[in-house]
């Protein structure tokens, strides 16, 4: 390896560091700690996690596949709006949706108030489901995460060759039978990919679980770390959570590979939408409106209501300092990850060696790893580094520089780079793929030097993927909660942390403005996504 590739390799491994730290603790199990955890909390964490995985998995499958089928196959009033409206819940972080439903459905909320007024009953006289429960968490995650399944499955349904579906019908299979016997089996790998993505988010969720009081690994890790101050225990729990994640990653990789086999060369002919009338059109509308209403319209309205109710917050200088802080942090993290991604993607393009590719794959795993696990995996090496630095500095200069790595924004930026590098890496790589090696060669035969090729050919072509990557990372950083909670410097807040703190203090309405801010910025990438989908369907003549 040359010096350049060695550096690339080193940086890629560094990004994978937290993952390596946590994975290594698996090889070095602390049996006494594990035994204690096993007797106290682990069975509960595992059973809760399994219930969540199964229920959320089923829920997002039903919501995602049914909407994808209606939108890709039928013509009914409003399908065009719904086709992108169904993506809107992507802008809502799960914990914010959880706050809004709590505000609506709690004892003091408007729904129960209405029931009490209507039937003239008081608290305790009637039964009402408790949203702050395991079932409530399943509900919230389903309505927030189904778009992953919808997005991927819809693409699969639209790519399926119409011939397969039509030949099934000429062979005498009805519409419903064709769906179950042909369309569904063909789309199964795509559905599996979408569901595993949703389940990874489920495992990574901290905000909802903490607020609803559902004990799972993420909340357990946090409690072990802060409540008991047990770093080793937190590391061991993180390792256990990582096992769940790795299983999901393997399922996802496997189904993606199969998806390639199932993908057929689509003919130029786009599938004909079948028009729906009467109750069928009504049913399709209901199926598609339901998740949009539950996942976006209701929570967003509640946020708006709170923001109006607490309108004075918008005038506070501290709120805008907080917003500025968050944007500044997000932009900084976005620039770092995008530059890193650019560098790694070019390195891989130029020297596609096996070790480098493997290291870059490792560096790109961050998105699957729960933020809390990354934080835990990062804190111990950073703390070690700080202690060495303090010792060295005391010996050399006789002064204590403080916690330079673990106690400052550096730790946060490192964690964001680990978690969100894959987002920008994917975006940048797919942009880079459009610049064929022949294009470089042409420019060279036209007398262009390497630097001129970069400025005149590559950068203009990479402009929009780079911008997209910046925005995606910015939004992800703004939404991020657990890693920020663990790693933020003393007295440093982001919008997400403020919303979390207000909600934890049972001041839900005060959580409204920061939450609304996060959702508003989060809508930008959703709009970009829906526009990209629309352009694609225009190009394919749909």
């Amino acid at each position: 390896m040359s010096r350049g590739t060695l550096l690339l390799f080193a940086v890629a491994v560094l990004i994978g560091l937290p993952l390596i730290v946590v994975a290594l603790s698996l090889l070095n199990p602390q049996w006494d700690i594990l035994a204690h955890l096993w007797q106290t909390v682990i069975p509960e964490y595992i059973s809760h996690s399994l219930i969540l995985l199964v229920c959320v998995g089923l829920g997002v499958t039903v919501l995602g596949v049914s909407t994808a089928w209606c939108i890709s196959q039928y013509d009914f009033p409003g399908w065009r709006y719904l086709s992108w409206g169904l993506l809107l819940p992507l802008a809502m972080p799960a914990y914010i949706t959880a706050y809004t439903y709590t505000g609506l459905l709690d004892y003091a909320g408007p729904v129960q108030q209405l029931i009490r007024d209507l039937f003239n009953v008081s608290i305790g006289d009637y039964w009402f489901p408790n949203i702050r429960s395991l079932a409530g968490a399943v509900f919230v995650l389903c309505v927030v995460l189904y778009p992953y399944v919808y997005l991927i499955t819809r693409a699969a349904f639209m790519q399926q060759s119409t011939a397969a579906f039509e030949s099934a019908r000429t062979l005498g299979a009805g519409s419903l039978k064709s769906f179950w016997r042909v369309a569904m089996p063909l789309a199964r790998p795509a559905i599996a990919t979408g569901v595993t993505l949703a389940l990874m988010e489920t495992l990574a969720d901290y905000g909802t679980m903490e607020y609803f009081g559902v004990t799972v690994f993420t909340t357990g890790i946090f409690r072990t770390w802060y409540g008991i101050g047990d770093a080793q225990g937190a590391l061991q729990l993180s390792a256990l959570l990582l096992i769940f994640v790795i299983v999901l990653i393997m399922v996802e990789r496997y189904s993606r590979r199969r998806a390639r086999f199932y993908q057929q060369r689509s003919s130029n002919r786009t599938p004909q939408r079948r028009p729906l009338k009467g109750w069928r059109a009504g049913l399709a509308s209901f199926i598609c409106w339901l998740p949009v209403v539950l996942g976006f319209l209701i929570p967003a309205s509640q946020l708006l209501w709170w923001s109006v109710e607490k309108s004075d917050i918008w005038l506070e200088a501290s709120f805008w300092v907080l917003t500025g802080n968050t944007l500044w942090l997000g932009l900084l993290a976005a620039c770092i990850t995008v530059l890193l991604a650019l560098w790694l993607a070019y390195g891989r393009r130029r020297h596609p060696t096996r070790p480098l590719r493997a290291a870059i794959t490792l560096a790109g795993m961050g998105y699957a790893i729960p933020g809390i696990v990354i934080a835990v995996g990062l804190l111990s090496p950073l703390a070690w580094l700080d202690h060495q630095l303090i010792a060295a500095s005391k010996w050399l200069f006789g002064m204590n520089p403080g916690l330079i790595f673990s106690g400052t924004v550096i730790a946060l930026l490192f964690a964001y780079s680990v978690r969100f590098l894959s987002v920008s890496l994917q975006t940048v790589s797919s942009g880079l793929e459009q610049i064929t090696p022949q294009m470089d060669d042409s420019a060279r035969t036209l007398g262009a030097s390497g630097r001129r090729i970069l400025w005149k050919v590559h950068l203009p072509l990479l402009k929009s993927p780079l911008l997209a990557a910046l925005i995606l990372v910015l939004v992800d950083v703004m939404k991020e909660l657990p890693a920020t909670l663990v790693l933020r410097p003393f007295d440093f807040n982001t919008l997400a942390v403020r919303a979390f703190e207000m909600a934890s203090d049972e001041r839900l309405a005060d959580a409204g403005p920061p939450a609304l801010m996060i959702v508003a910025v989060g809508l930008i990438p959703v709009m970009m996504l829906s526009r990209a989908l629309r352009n694609k369907s225009i190009k394919t003549g749909d």
Partner: protein, 352 residues
Amino acid sequence: MSTLLNLESVSIELSGNRIVDQLSLSLAPGDIGCLLGPSGCGKTTLLRAIAGFNPVSSGKISLHNKVVSSNSMQLATEKRNIGMMFQDFSLFPHLTVEQNIRFGIEDWSQSEQEQRVKELLLRIDLNGYQKRYPHELSGGQQQRIALARALAPRPQLMLLDEPFSSLDAELREILAHDVRHLLKEENITALLVTHDQQEAFAMADKAGVMYSGQLLQWETPYELYHEPTHELVADFIGRGVLLQGEVKEHKLHSAFGVIEHDDIKNHPNMQVNFLVRPDDIVLNKNSAMKAIVVGKGFRGSHYLYTLELSDTSRVLAVGPSHQPLNDGATVGIDVDFDHLVVFDASLCELPD
């Protein structure tokens, strides 16, 4: 005679495999050369070495008697003043037609640039397309823009890598003529690589067949067709079959009987394979020599028949379109060789 491009026993090795093996050829200024050959024969690798993308492991490549590639040095591509056209055109998608063409001449003065763009667009019949983007153009138009872009800096040598392969057959032939015309007008020397011999015949002043890294013949297309010096060339170029025969006392003995021909009047006695093209066989119902029709293909203006001779060897023959012969029919044939091409049978190395 002066040469513009000269290759002296050039060998190229890529990751340990010898792709091009001691190949020599030269092109005179203004000539269009063509390397034919099946895919994987090394022709594209050779072209990329001339452009300076691949290093040579031995031998020399020179332009205008100046060495640009040898095992000890390699002049950077951008300093060779070579134009190259790629199979996929590789137009820059973010630049307009005009900006694409200007890319290689941006160090010229503004008015010179404008004039050159205008002149080229007129030549390729796309004047008025200046502001269009590549994706708004058809395949044939993109191809011509790519050519104009490569021609703009007036390269001393133009390299074309399968330039027509992504176009349909009809367009291919028209464009091949257009491109030849344009290159001649600009008086640019060019080397073309293709697996399609029609393209080669339409374009080239000189052509050769490449086979596993070696150049088998380097002559005019006419000579390549009528006087192949190698069985692989005979097999690759044009339709035809090789029949077995024997040269005895300067006469060819074969299923066609005994043939005397100027081309073999000094040939030593030996077992030979000789080349029979469809145009060497003339259908003549009065002829004493008979053959049986065992297959036919309609070609519009004519039929291409497969005929079986008395010794069961088969040849191809052309017959008029309007009075087809049926399978199994017996026909009379005459044999009339313009050129009689024979190969030593003991050296035969035809692939199966």
